[in-house]
Symmetry: C2
Subunit: 386 residues, 2 copies
């Protein structure tokens, strides 16, 4: 057989390989970034699919459809975003096959070999993989407990001339931190001043367990592309995301999307539109918040007893992740096999770094285990870490 082109930068995802190791039922896994399946609104979604596949529109919902997405879904999503402080119309939105696809569409539209992308560290590793696959060079911007430092970004912008800045500003994956309002304004202003695109990846924004919502960066500039997802508030299996982009870029994004998969599943979009129109999504999200808040609390409460002196961690205001930094000299990648031997799993931190990894970091997800399981899992982790 002919060779695969050697110009392609593809390598397997460490998270993916790890997930394979955590499927034994006796393992308490804090590794995956999954929502809790017992909290899915299975009856509500079943009803929505039933209606989507009933007369009078059932046949339309099995047919090819416009690349931009189901108009009713886009309109409902726009109203929801507007209601949450980000004024949006149907025409501002492109429905995507999960927000992962939105990332690849933006990458295909804006980046090429040699492009430069600026990221916070640590950051979402599938985004790093996506940028690298396009041949882009990823540069890190200094970040602290509140996320990317705008002054550091300004230096990187002047020195490296990136085309794109990638951020998970709210309850970041993996760090759990949230970018404050002043930094959001500063980064949006930098984007406008330096003709720079910013991707605001926001799958977790509705999962807030304490404090008040902070306006998205996209409020501050048309240079900010805002990515939303049904995966964490509804269910990931539908692969439904959306991308809010200015008119100047939307035409290109639609053409790239058309080449990618013509359009997102017609039936899944129709079911989601029916669900948004008829179910109590706000009530459902409130229930998610209550459940996840107690899980976060159980994990954070267990951390002092599970880790050695000198360990620090984030206590996130929302989202799915706690980020742990063990004392210098610890190697969490090496410790993982010991953790798996104790039937507990986490994700080592290094793959989330674009440049020099901190070997003493790890990511814990608190969403898929009930509080007592979290307490038990953290006790197992204590045996490995202390």
């Amino acid at each position: 057989m002919p060779p695969v082109s050697s110009t392609k930068h593809v390598s397997s995802s460490p998270v993916r390989d790890l997930l394979a190791l955590t499927s034994r039922p006796e393992v308490i896994s804090f590794a995956g970034g999954l929502p809790a399946p017992e909290l899915f609104d299975l009856p509500g979604l079943r009803m929505a699919f039933h209606q989507a596949l009933s007369e009078p529109t059932g046949r339309d919902n099995l047919q090819y459809a416009p690349t931009e997405g189901n108009p009713a879904l886009r309109s409902l999503l726009a109203a929801r975003m507007t209601g949450k402080g980000l004024p949006t119309t149907e025409d501002d939105l492109l429905v995507t096959t999960g927000s992962q696809q939105a990332l690849t569409l933006v990458t295909a539209a804006l980046l090429g070999p040699g492009s430069v992308v600026a990221v916070e560290e640590p950051t979402y590793l599938a985004a790093l993989q996506c940028f690298r696959m396009a041949g882009a060079r990823v540069v890190a911007v200094a970040s602290d407990g509140h996320g990317m430092v705008p002054e550091a970004l300004e230096e990187v912008v002047r020195a490296e001339r990136p085309s794109l800045v990638y951020l998970v500003p709210t309850f970041a994956n993996p760090a759990g931190r949230t970018l404050p309002a002043e930094r959001r304004a500063a980064i949006a202003a930098l984007a406008a001043a330096h003709d720079l695109w910013v991707v605001e990846d926001d799958p977790y924004g509705e999962l807030r367990y304490r404090g008040e919502p902070i306006a998205p960066l996209a409020v501050g500039s048309d240079n900010v592309l805002h990515l939303g997802s049904f995966s964490k508030i509804g269910a990931p299996g539908l692969r439904l995301g959306w991308l809010r982009a200015p008119e100047s870029l939307m035409g290109t994004l639609v053409i790239v999307k058309q080449a990618a998969d013509l359009h997102t599943s017609t039936v899944d979009q129709a079911a989601a539109a029916i669900y948004l129109a008829t179910a109590d999504l706000d009530g459902h999200v409130a229930a998610l918040r209550t459940a996840y808040r107690s899980r976060r609390d159980a994990m954070v409460a267990a951390l002092p007893g599970a880790t050695p002196a000198g360990t620090t961690w984030t206590d996130p205001d929302g989202g799915m992740f706690v980020w742990v930094t063990l004392p210098a000299g610890t190697n969490t990648t090496e410790l993982l096999s010991a953790a798996l031997a104790h039937d507990v799993a986490y994700v080592p931190g290094p793959p989330f770094y674009a440049t020099t990894p901190d070997q003493a970091t790890l990511r814990l997800s608190f969403t898929t285990n009930a509080p007592d399981r979290i307490t038990e899992g953290m006790a197992r982790l204590a045996e490995v870490l202390r």
Copy 2:
């Protein structure tokens, strides 16, 4: 706002722009490449989704899932392909978000700027768009009423060193023609001899209205990537396709797929698996064949009266399309507005050419109109063409 990169080769699809013009209900459209919605098995698919979203596996079918695809679906598809003469195992298959996605995955895995792709002419225009977007150079191989000429491909291989050959060998879009067995064997042998990948795009293969099935090219060589689709035998709204690839390439394809959308809709895959396991798909496809055969017959019967002397057309053994070549000097792009004024639509041929278009060609789709509507539409077309 920052500029969209000027290195990107994106342009709107003529078919897409045209489809917008044909949505008036009084238009009899032969333009779209859509399956007939009244023939969808709506009750059967509704039942399959209901079961997919019921206990005990309903919650699993809403969760994140493996990139390769639903194992039951892959196993059922492999058995179906094996039964139709292409020996296939679950591990040979990657589930894709429509076969359009399979094209972009293959493109991302194998092509880059400057790569050369060899195609028959005319060919599927979304494939041309996909190759061009990747910066590949598309070269045409001489083709006749039976498809690509192997001797012409051999010359192109020696002169241009393509990385990939793209073919719709069975009931081609747009030409309706089918590549004979001897040419398939010759092209598969060329691929093996010259270390060349071949994409065998096969969305229409099951829609045969006359004659006996011909073995796919993939039977003859592991260098042939075989693309299948649920869109024409089931429904396109689920966006379900599959890609049969050798182990040497599968790892790379899975990583590219992971970056593209993590995985195809879990619920759509589960519903399709249930449908394949429980419905009489062969009976359903037999009913499609009966209906589409009479539509093809109505269109072919009307062509002599609808076109001027010197016109030629394909009389396809299957699929969805008749390809018409009007007398030299005719310009079907210019005639389209006249056709639309007569409330009938077609797709002009030129966009389906990679190189020098034949301005006198057009594509007619016979699938979405009943025979009497086809007869009426062809009478309208006669007023424009004769």
